[in-house]
């Protein structure tokens, strides 16, 4: 059933009684061609593209809770393609292009808003690093504009230009960067996958992965065993537990990242702003809440909640950079479980087990990757070969050191990316 303005009008006039479920709640079948473990953004988009791009619809997505209940529903909603290392550069570029057609593709308004992202820099050295990044973005065919201090002031007049501890030297503007309505992305993919025949099975936790002679044969779940020719693991912060069911140990440590939203306010911040010296980023949602976050809490955690030192640090960064937000009140804070890798970049790869595929390690940048990740992972699962933009996301790069993508340059400590 298509969505459109006309449809909204028509239904409105008839008491909104004609709307039907946006996805089914099917009973799991005993066998599928492909089982995707994880009904988050990445799992749902994988299922969607398996169906749409590869015609594979005998597919189940198994979700232990509710669809979109993980990081896709608890992030700061930023969408961007401003990476500079080969691998990330082409991958996020591809993902952003998918974003740009997502509403039409899904017939779902995910409110992708390309309001522009500005990364501020605060020294000559940072400017040079951002110039390198911006040039890499343009090399890739994406957009970037280097702003000087006055250029930043034109866009963001409310920053503290006079007294900031780390003065604003300028910023890298990524005009196509922006935000999207996070839940809608999960729902849009869910509806799209469901309508193409994919079974989305909620409240179905995978408890075991069946492997015979080095080949995956299915999974055990809380709703019974399900046979499958291929299994994809897409469970973000829970990757280590699921991979352990297949006897694997991953280069992943799970960490908590907190985020915050204020009470609703009239429009005051029009861009996405990122404060390099303070690990602080902020945008304003369409509802009016200031949505912002900072760094990891830095300790391993599955609690999806954090502690005060980072809360305070984030607030302090906000007060330092833009003291006009002081009177905005934080309404809600939350935490997500981030699957951190040793170089801060993700993994989309086969495993040592035939038919078992891995998609993880999105650190705290997974939201913007949802379309690209699903597209590339679906390609890998369907064709058993890497999709070019994700070809560098190998699992064994840490071991051989080939093609590391350490954008932060902080080295092989999981929590430093």
């Amino acid at each position: 059933m298509g969505f459109s303005g006309w449809r909204v009008l028509r239904e409105g006039l008839s008491g909104n009684r004609g709307w039907t479920p946006q996805w089914r709640d099917p009973e799991p079948k005993s066998e599928y061609d492909i089982v995707i473990i994880g009904g988050g953004g990445h799992g749902l988009s994988t299922a969607y593209y398996l169906a749409k791009e590869h015609g594979l619809t005998n597919v189940a997505v198994l979700e232990k809770g509710y669809l979109g209940g993980g990081n896709v529903g608890r992030n700061t909603t930023i969408v961007r393609a401003n990476y500079f290392l080969p691998g990330n550069s082409e991958f996020y570029s591809h993902s952003l292009k998918l974003w740009e057609g997502l509403e039409e593709d899904l017939n779902y308004n995910v409110m992708h808003s390309q309001r522009g992202l500005i990364n501020l820099f605060h020294s000559d050295g940072q400017r040079d690093a951002f110039a390198r990044r911006g040039n890499a973005m343009i090399n890739q065919g994406d957009d970037a504009i280097l702003l000087d201090r006055e250029g930043v002031r034109k866009h963001l007049p409310y920053l503290d230009f006079d007294n900031l501890r780390f003065p604003v030297y300028g910023g890298l503007l990524h005009p196509r960067g922006g935000t999207a309505r996070h839940d809608a992305v999960a729902w849009g993919y869910a509806r799209g996958a469901d309508s193409r025949g994919v079974d989305l099975i909620q409240n179905c936790e995978v408890t075991g992965i069946d492997i015979e002679n080095g080949r995956v044969t299915g999974v055990q779940t809380t709703r019974g065993p399900i046979r499958a020719k291929k299994v994809g693991m897409v469970v973000a912060g829970r990757s280590s537990q699921v991979a352990a069911m297949a006897g694997m140990r991953l280069p992943i440590e799970s960490h908590v990242l907190q985020a915050f939203v204020t009470e609703g306010l009239k429009p005051v911040i029009d861009h996405v702003v990122s404060f390099g010296m303070g690990h602080f980023y902020i945008s304003q949602s369409d509802k009016g809440g200031l949505v912002f976050g900072g760094d990891l809490d830095f300790y391993a955690s599955y609690a999806a909640r954090g502690n005060l030192p980072m809360v305070e640090h984030v607030m302090e960064a906000g007060m330092a950079l833009m003291p006009m937000i002081g009177r905005a009140r934080v309404l809600r804070s939350w935490g997500g479980i981030m699957d951190m890798t040793p170089d801060g970049s993700p993994i989309i790869d086969k495993t040592g087990i035939d038919g078992l595929y891995l998609n993880c390690g999105w650190c705290y940048g997974g939201f913007k990757a949802v379309p690209g990740s699903g597209f590339s992972f679906a390609h890998l699962i369907a064709r058993d070969e890497h999709h070019a933009p994700a070809a560098r996301y190998r699992l064994d790069r840490f071991r051989d050191g080939i093609g590391l993508m350490d954008e932060e340059g902080t080295g092989a400590q999981h929590n430093l990316h």
């Binding site: 009239k266 330092a320 009140r329």
Partner: protein
């Protein structure tokens, strides 16, 4: 309308304030809401989506409707709950989310379009044409959304943060909290008692009831006074515990100055971090509205709020009141009203067994099914067995029962359990370690039960803390049982509001279920139920019940929603207090800071430090002039530069050499006393961490240096290696960065300068390049190192920091006498680029010793941190980008750091990228721009030409690849 003789306000102290441009008078003790209600003002706000007229619903911090902006200009405070804001002389409050006025709000047209604005409608439309989202739809939606507005100006007020510690934190000073505090305090425990209200008592302030034979509020006051007098008790009023964190850490917000006229030095608020060994949660309960059609008009309030305004503030919210409820509190409300002389037009009780009364008409087994009145309630429609009936009323008091305020117990992911007898969620035991719920927040609703649970909670805490309790008697108090029959919604024509603030109606929840958003989390996210500033305190349980109904499940089967910090919203300025301006991070100043600033040098941040960019001479108008001069000065005579910011670590002990061999790639154990060696440190993953020097001061003592940026990281790393990896080595580390003021004296005249300054001239034989040793400057013991970051004959001299200022001034004066002077970071950078010396622009965390051409420095004779991993296939070989020098050879001479490198004639796109530029500078020595960069297989490509391309700055320059050492490649000047 005030009721004579009632209330805890001070009628002798009138207070003057304004709301919506109109002057009003209230009394000390009034909130903005009570004062306005007393003046007959009912319309106080507009709702979020439909811009419905709204008045006060509650009398507490959970208020969803009466949100106003207090103050003006930069002091404007949006979204203030009128129910919490105390009035003070001069207070100015403004309505928000209404245009052009509160009474005539244009966007109330949205209300007419409500059929098209159902839950999630925006996911289904606004998709065509694509470009219209950012340009048209989104701006319109954004402007319509939001509540109050920020001023856009920096918050000018003071805020603070503080720490507090206690044995027992008691959250809430109602009967349960007071009793818990007293019990613990009498046992000698260190107690903090917090309450968000201005005075203790909790519900006792709002009820007409006696405790121990005296009015409840007086009992609470007396007990609070008694607690306050005890040395082991700290009573914190106006303090809301907002969040629970690990190991007994609580966040709390104290309103310090928000209830007073503005005073610059008085903080508006203080954000407390309270560390408590145990805590008692006595946060009470929140009464819930009932969802019936048009239940949101101004004049419709919770019954508990009506009693609060009546009993605490002496305000009758109206002249004709209808009470509607499913429990005995409805009757209590009617009784209180009648006793105060207010007309109760009807009591509508959904329970068939409701008792009749002589004082007011009771409609048993009846419900409210509609209301009328545009800007305020005029009448209600009730549905009885006989049919529908309209009753004129200006106030409706409704009670759907009470929800325990268990929010804090959920902050660690705990899920509460459902109790059928009170139709509410209550906390399970130990949802938060060490936090014991008591009283109404625990489902105990009578005053007696609250007192008893408060005492019991304290006793449990005391026993867990190993403290002996004294016998504390319980006060006499009412002990009525809860009598309630769940009633969540009344079906009928029209919208029935659940979440008043976000304009979520029962129909929206049903629509969510219809579209299979059946998980409570899905429903919440799809409808935005519970996501407004009250975080669903007023509505979540009812919405859950409506969802349960729509999906044919019980409430416990349907689930619970979780609550997250903060309990009530906290200003960013409070949690971020002190960080504005320079307060964000400590400022580190060198001993030469004052002298440097006196010379007009612009200071730049280097980590936390400040360092001079350049020292302008009179007549110089551009930094390049100063920089060029300073470079020439160092090359031709002598320059002075403060290098104290580099990290300095004292490494001592019998195993110091072996230790350094492990952390540096090269051999440090073989350095002879009195000599210095340059060293490279790797991370364990094989990439370069830092570089610096190791000076062997004596057999058992090294002084190593780090870069300014990496000093902290290196110290932590060395501590890790010493304590974690090699605790067998006898080595002691101490940071001595701050002990020594250290200055570079660089240039051909450096020795001449020092010879005139040191107590004894330098013997050239004893002071070759890379020598070090003790010297004396005017009798002061100093250290001298013959090292160079400029490529010139140079020294670094270190004196105890107290002499730094004095020595710097002296060095500069001596240098000037020799034709030299001080130089800053710009010149330092050019000097090092000319020599191909690296900084963190090159060792940016992704480069290896191989990449920077220093793999020879990785000793083959020993293991070191990072050695094995640096040997991975991907970290060496011709595919790697290697350090090279670049100089312009074409028409364009421009070079920019951050540009990328391509082979001439290729498209400047990613697949053709060959490398990038890290550092550039104009060399006055060589008369050209120079650059350092990384180029694929660069060391094998010296002499080749590459294209430098900077898209961002429109630079394209043909360059020649060369050795990174541009100047004096054999080092004659440095050694000479």
């Amino acid at each position: 309308m005030r009721i004579a003789g009632k209330g805890l306000i001070d009628r002798d102290t009138p207070v003057h304030f304004r709301f919506d441009g109109v002057a009003h008078q209230g009394f000390a003790g009034d909130t903005l809401a009570s004062a306005l209600l007393a003046q007959g003002v009912r319309l106080m706000g507009r709702s979020f989506k439909y811009h419905r007229p709204r008045g006060v619903l509650t009398a507490g911090s959970e208020e969803p409707n009466a949100l106003v902006t207090v103050g003006q200009g930069a002091h404007a405070d949006p979204n203030v709950r009128a129910t919490v804001q105390e009035i003070y002389d001069g207070l100015e409050a403004h309505p928000q989310n209404a245009w052009p006025s509160l009474r005539y709000d244009l966007l109330s047209l949205n209300d007419l379009a409500a059929p098209f604005l159902s839950a999630g409608f925006y996911y289904k439309t606004f998709m065509w044409p694509r470009a219209f989202w950012e340009k048209l739809y989104e701006p319109v939606i954004r402007r319509a959304a939001g509540l109050g507005a920020l001023s856009g100006q920096p918050d000018p007020d003071a805020y603070e943060k503080a720490y507090a510690f206690c044995d027992l934190l008691v959250i809430g000073a109602g009967p349960a909290g007071l009793m818990a505090a007293l019990t613990a305090a009498e046992a000698g425990a260190d107690v903090i008692l917090c309450d968000e209200d201005t005075r203790s008592g909790g519900r006792l302030l709002a009820e007409d009831e006696e405790v121990d034979g005296q009015p409840g509020h007086a009992w609470a006051q007396a007990l609070t006074d008694r607690l306050r007098a005890m040395p082991n008790v700290r009573v914190m009023r106006r303090t809301t515990v907002t969040g629970v964190y690990d190991q007994g850490t609580y966040g709390a917000l104290e309103r310090v100055g928000q209830h007073l006229p503005h005073r610059a030095s008085l903080p508006r608020a203080c954000f407390w971090r309270i560390v408590a060994k145990r805590a008692v949660l006595a946060s009470g309960a929140i009464e819930r509205p009932v969802a019936f059609p048009n239940n949101d008009r101004p004049g419709i309030m919770t019954a508990g709020a009506v009693r609060a305004y009546l009993n605490r503030w002496g305000v009758a919210p109206g002249r004709r009141v209808v009470v509607f409820g499913n429990n005995d509190d409805a009757h209590r409300t009617a009784r209180d009203l009648v006793a105060a002389g207010v007309h109760v037009a009807a009591l509508v009780d959904s329970r068939h067994e409701a008792q009749a009364s002589d004082a007011y008409p009771v409609h048993a087994g009846a419900v409210l099914c509609n209301t009328q009145g545009r800007l305020g309630l005029e009448s209600v429609t009730i549905r009885t067995a006989k049919g529908e009936e309209r009753i004129a009323a200006d106030t409706l008091a409704m009670s759907g029962g009470w929800n325990p305020s268990l929010h804090l117990t959920c902050h660690m992911n705990g899920r509460p359990v459902w109790r059928d007898d009170i139709a509410a969620f209550v906390p399970k035991p130990d949802m938060v370690p060490g936090l014991i719920p008591a009283g109404a927040c625990h489902g105990a609703f009578s005053t007696h039960a609250c007192l008893e649970e408060g005492r019991a909670a304290a006793l449990r805490a005391l026993s867990e803390l190993g403290m002996t309790a004294k016998d504390v008697p319980l006060a006499e108090a009412e002990d009525a049982p809860v009598s309630l029959r769940p009633l969540w919604q009344v079906l009928g024509k029209g919208r029935a509001w659940l979440d008043f603030q976000n304009d979520v109606t029962a129909k929206d929840v049903a629509l969510a279920a219809q579209e299979n958003f059946c998980s409570v989390e899905h429903m919440k996210r799809y409808t935005t139920q519970g996501m407004a500033p009250d975080q669903g305190k007023n509505s979540n349980v009812a919405a859950l019940a409506v969802l349960a109904d729509a999906t044919g499940r019980s409430i416990p089967e349907t689930g619970t929603t979780t609550f997250r910090p903060p309990y009530t919203p906290v200003a960013i300025a409070a949690m971020g207090a002190g960080a504005e301006g320079k307060g964000f991070a400590p400022e580190r100043k060198t001993t030469s800071h004052a002298a440097t600033v006196e010379r007009g040098a612009p200071m730049i941040e280097a980590g936390l430090w400040y360092r001079p960019s350049y020292f302008p001479d009179p007549g110089e108008s551009h930094w390049r002039q100063s920089c060029d001069r300073e470079v020439r000065m160092v090359r031709e005579s002598v320059g002075i530069c403060d290098v104290s910011t580099l990290g300095k670590i004292d490494v001592q002990g019998p195993d110091a050499g072996r230790f350094l061999d492990l952390v540096y790639t090269n051999m440090m154990s073989t350095v002879k006393p009195g000599r210095v060696r340059y060293g490279l440190m790797l991370r364990e993953d094989g990439h370069v961490m830092d570089d610096g020097t190791a000076a062997r001061l004596s057999e058992g003592q090294y002084l190593i240096t780090t870069t300014t940026a990496a000093a902290g990281q290196v110290m932590a790393h060395l501590d890790f290696v010493a304590q974690g990896l090699r605790p067998d080595l006898d080595v002691r580390l101490a940071s001595v960065t701050e002990q020594w003021a250290q200055f570079a004296v660089a240039g051909p005249q450096s020795r001449a300068l020092l010879d005139g300054l040191l107590d004894a001239p330098l013997d050239p034989e004893a002071w070759p390049f890379m020598a070090c040793g003790p010297v004396k400057v005017m009798g002061i013991a100093a250290r001298l190192f013959r090292i160079s970051f400029s490529g010139e004959h140079a020294y670094e001299i270190a004196v105890p920091a107290r002499y730094g200022d004095s020595l710097f001034r002296l060095l500069v004066a001596r240098a000037e006498a020799l034709g030299g002077g001080p130089y800053g970071m710009e010149a330092l950078n050019v000097l090092r680029i000319e020599k191909g010396f690296i900084t963190h622009a090159e060792i940016h965390g992704r480069t290896t010793a191989f990449d920077i051409g220093m793999d020879r420095m990785v000793s083959a004779k020993k293991d070191c941190i990072g050695k094995v991993m640096a040997d991975r296939p991907g970290l060496k070989g011709p595919e790697r980008e290697q350090l090279v020098g670049l100089r312009p050879v074409g028409e364009s001479k421009e070079m920019t750091a951050g540009a990328h490198l391509f082979e001439p004639g290729t498209e400047p796109v990613r697949v053709n990228a060959q490398g990038y530029v890290t550092s550039v500078g104009f060399s006055p020595t060589l008369g050209t721009m120079l650059a350092l960069g990384f180029l694929r297989n660069g060391r094998a490509r010296h002499g080749e030409r590459v294209k430098l391309k900077d898209h961002l700055r429109q630079v394209e320059t043909l360059c020649e690849v060369c050795d990174p050492v541009f100047f004096d490649p054999d080092g004659g000047r440095l050694r000479g």
